[in-house]
């Protein structure tokens, strides 16, 4: 969910070793609870400022879904002392965007380094207090409804993800998508709810500020103290979400839609980002489908020609999320045949050990991707911020070793636990003839 369409940053895979250089950063905590992180990158004339709030659609009331994302839009409607957000930033040569996920809401801007203070001024004022304007709410409600249509209702396969989440999660708020469960929830949002949401979640003690670029550590800490220091701690309540009960039997749903091709989706409950098995799980998806040399592509797309598209990926959620396999069968191949072929590949993961070559390959790929990601100061800011909200910005350095140390035995063990029939939710998405 981006604030403005058109600018999508590719998500960088988790880090790995060797070529990878440690990202050095310094971190401090202001008295009001705001964590401040600084990383120096002297190759760019720009700075990135990232403010990440620990609130996402998982924190919404089931009858008011889509609120965190709607709120992200409202964060640009003016703050207590600054009537408009964008214009002063543009005057300083800056640019910005934001996104909301199930787990967090992230705001980021870039600007020439000698105008860094404008960024602090803008971001601190909207953390201090929003303007809460009714006209802004009226308009952004409409913008978000159009976004809802553009992303989901008016897109072929646009409702896949909401359907899958609803099928796999019965209790946990991961059951609804970030854009919201239905348009009416957005239509009904009131200004009072907006205010309550702000004071419940937008607070220095519930946020992380990251600055990257050709900056001086002390200068940034001084600026942070000056602009963010006076914002009161709001004693944000710790999150207490219901745990999703263990799934005990296979779930299956079939829908008929106006799309060109039948597609099958199989979602398996997996561990959260901080669980020790997460890294092996991520590598399982890479062995299966990362790149044209991957197993599923080589065997089922290229050799047996059963699919035209076949992917395995993680939902990327912080708490226990989903491991998804999705495939479009080739013309004339039934969903039953397709499903059996997928299950056969998953069974191989459960029975045989991956070769050391295969494992080395997916680890190399992770390593290379992190090096590519390190070339950009904004990517680094976002990775530091989102990892700090998860648990610790230092994960972007230590995860390297976590991936490198995964063994073929762990891959098999994780697969055995993951790919159990009773752990699976199947969505048959049938093309209307």
């Amino acid at each position: 969910m981006l604030r403005v369409p058109g600018f999508e940053l590719t998500r960088i895979a988790q880090p790995a070793t060797r070529n990878f250089t440690m990202i050095h950063f310094e971190r401090t905590k202001l008295e009001n609870g705001l964590t401040v992180i600084v990383h120096q990158d002297q190759t760019t004339p720009m700075v990135a400022i990232d403010v990440c709030y620990n609130v996402g659609s998982r924190d919404e009331h089931p009858d008011r879904t889509g609120f965190a994302h709607l709120f992200e839009h409202l964060m640009f409607g003016g703050s207590k002392n600054i009537p408009v957000y964008d214009e002063p930033l543009q005057k300083a040569g800056g640019d910005n965007n934001a996104f909301t996920s199930n787990d967090l809401t992230n705001y980021y801007l870039t600007l020439p380094k000698n105008n860094i203070e404008t960024g602090f001024w803008l971001e601190s004022d909207r953390m201090l207090e929003l303007a809460f304007s009714k006209s802004s709410l009226d308009v952004q409600r409409n913008v978000v409804i159009e976004e809802f249509k553009q992303r989901q209702l008016n897109q072929p396969y646009g409702d896949v993800w909401p359907l899958l989440r609803q099928l796999a999660f019965k209790v946990h708020p991961y059951q609804w998508p970030t854009i919201g469960r239905e348009i009416s929830h957005i239509e009904k949002a009131t200004l009072q709810q907006v205010k309550d949401f702000f004071f419940a979640h937008y607070a220095p003690d519930n946020a992380v500020l990251v600055v990257t670029g050709d900056v001086d550590f002390d200068q940034v800490f001084r600026l942070a103290e000056r602009w963010f220091g006076p914002i009161p701690n709001r004693k944000v309540k710790p999150r207490n979400l219901p745990k999703e009960p263990v799934q005990t039997e296979i779930r299956e749903q079939t829908v008929i839609r106006e799309v060109p091709n039948d597609t099958i989706y199989m979602a398996y409950h997996m561990d959260g980002r901080l669980d020790p098995d997460y890294f092996a799980t991520d590598l399982v998806s890479d062995v299966l489908s990362n790149g044209n040399s991957s197993r599923m592509y080589q065997n089922l797309v290229q050799k047996e020609k059963l699919f035209s598209e076949l992917d395995a990926y993680l939902s990327g959620d912080y708490e226990p999320g989903l491991f998804v396999v999705s495939g479009k069968p080739s013309n004339g191949i039934s969903l039953e045949t397709a499903r059996m072929a997928i299950e056969q590949e998953l069974d191989r993961m459960k029975q045989e050990l991956v070769s050391s070559y295969e494992l080395e390959k997916v680890k190399n790929k992770l390593e290379a991707n992190i090096v590519y990601g390190e070339m950009n100061y904004l990517t680094k800011a976002m990775n530091l911020a989102t990892n700090e909200v998860l648990d610790d910005a230092g994960l972007i350095n230590s995860q390297v070793e976590s991936y490198r140390s995964v063994t073929p035995e762990q891959i098999r063990e994780v697969s055995q636990h993951l790919f159990r029939t009773e752990n699976c939710s199947v969505l048959n998405y049938i093309a209307k003839k």
């Binding site: 070529n19 214009e87 300083a92 040569g93 913008v143 249509k149 044209n292 040399s293 390959k361």
Partner: protein, 427 residues
């Protein structure tokens, strides 16, 4: 005392460090343009051939030919090629546009020799295996079907047809049946005629030191892959006499809109000034269109304008997707915003804002090796040099609202624009 009511002092952007691309030639004359910058040991290499859709004799040949390059060579099978790229964590990207065909790769410097070995083979010795071709066509058919369900695809296709005429290579007019007409021999012929040393340029960015350039010469500097260049076909633009077009797509909630006209090319004296004008109209978040149609009216998630510069033509296009009930009012507002630029001078404040924003964008366009290489290609493709950017900066810093109003009167007459709407509601 902290004053939150006043913006901290803004420093103007005075200096922009434009690291320039350097030029070399391989022994056989292939030009190599390179930017040695950045700190990571990463290299991005783009092989560019004059092999875009302009040169194809039937639909899809240019793009399928390009996609097939990684599907088998005389030394490597498609799976061996995939295996190499994946094992070394390198990314291969094969694309075509209207004029060019690209073979691009990004790799860690330490793996570059191995990656270049494979690239040499797929550029010089592709064999177009039947089996892989069949899979690729089936895959692309499904993709085509999916894309053609989207109102934005339907709208863009129609828009290019309206602007250029169905038979022009800049018009996107491929059909599902075109996939069945693809013959392997046509692809091989296209490959032989267009992917050779006499038709190639190389762009390299990242950590590009002498060994990298030497490696390129060893693999690509010989005359063993030279062919005679094909004649460049000539096409006439044949625009529709009708300004308004509608494409029917049943049951949609939103419609896609394109409003556009031919534009001046990069070498035209008005180009830079017009670029400021079109940014004010729809080129950034604070633009007139975004402010009015999204931020004040809420008709859309996004609306913007951009200029597409192709070798033989440039056009300006405004593009958006709106709820069906907002089509009419959106079109009215787009025209009103053009009119407003023609009759009302842009305020000092707005002009300052857009100038600063665009200067910031300038900095971004010259930040890092890949951006630097991109900025070079954007002039090199049009036979321009870096004075283009000096001139752009000069115009940007000095332009006045009077000049912009005059340009709007000359270039932004709503009645000159083509409008295409794709969606379920006929209007």
């Amino acid at each position: 005392m902290l004053n939150r009511l006043i913006q901290p002092l803004v420093n103007p952007i005075e200096h922009i460090d434009m690291v320039k691309a350097e030029k070399r030639q391989l022994s056989n004359g292939i030009p190599v343009y390179y930017v040695n910058a950045g700190t990571q040991d990463v290299v991005k290499i783009d092989f560019v051939f004059e092999a875009g859709t302009w040169f194809q004799t039937s639909n899809l040949v240019a793009s399928i030919c390009n996609s097939m390059l990684e599907e088998g060579t005389s030394n490597f099978s498609s799976s061996e090629i995939a295996e190499k790229f994946d094992f070394y964590g390198a990314h291969l990207q094969l694309t075509v546009d209207q004029n060019q065909g690209f073979v691009n790769a990004i790799s860690l410097g330490k793996h570059l020799p191995a990656i270049l070995d494979v690239m040499e083979d797929l550029i010089k010795r592709s064999v177009f295996p039947e089996d892989e071709l069949e899979v690729l066509i089936a895959k692309n058919k499904q993709k085509w079907l999916l894309e053609n369900e989207k109102v934005r695809t339907l709208c863009q296709k129609k828009f290019t047809q309206v602007m250029f005429g169905d038979a022009h290579p800049y018009a996107i007019n491929n059909t599902l049946e075109d996939f069945d007409r693809i013959a392997r021999e046509d692809l091989i012929r296209f490959y032989q005629t267009h992917y050779h040393s006499g038709n190639c340029q190389i762009f390299v960015a990242g950590k590009v030191e002498e060994p990298v350039l030497r490696m390129l010469d060893v693999r690509f500097g010989e005359n063993d892959w030279k062919q005679t260049n094909a004649k460049v076909p000539v096409y006439e633009i044949n625009s529709s006499p009708k300004k308004f077009h509608h494409v029917e797509k049943a049951n949609g909630l939103q419609s896609a809109i394109r409003v556009g006209k031919f534009w001046v090319t990069k070498s035209h004296p008005d180009y830079h000034a017009l670029s400021v004008l079109t940014n004010i109209l729809g080129g950034y978040f604070g633009s007139r269109l975004m402010t009015n149609i999204r931020e004040e009216k809420g008709y859309t998630y996004g609306i913007g304008s951009f200029v597409l510069n192709l070798k033989q033509a440039s056009y300006l296009v405004i593009s958006t997707e709106v709820g069906n009930e907002y089509i009419e009012p959106t079109l009215v507002e787009i025209a009103a915003e053009m009119k407003r630029l023609q009759i009302e001078p842009i305020s000092e404040n707005e002009l300052e804002t857009v100038k600063s924003y665009l200067l910031g964008e300038f900095l971004r366009d010259f930040d890092g090796p890949f951006a630097l290489a991109g900025s070079f290609k954007a002039i090199n493709d049009f036979g321009l040099d870096y004075s283009f950017y000096d001139q752009a900066l000069k115009v940007l810093r000095n332009i006045t609202s009077e000049e912009l109003m005059q340009l709007a009167q000359q270039y932004l007459n709503p009645e000159d624009f083509y409008t295409v709407v794709a969606g379920s509601k006929s209007i």
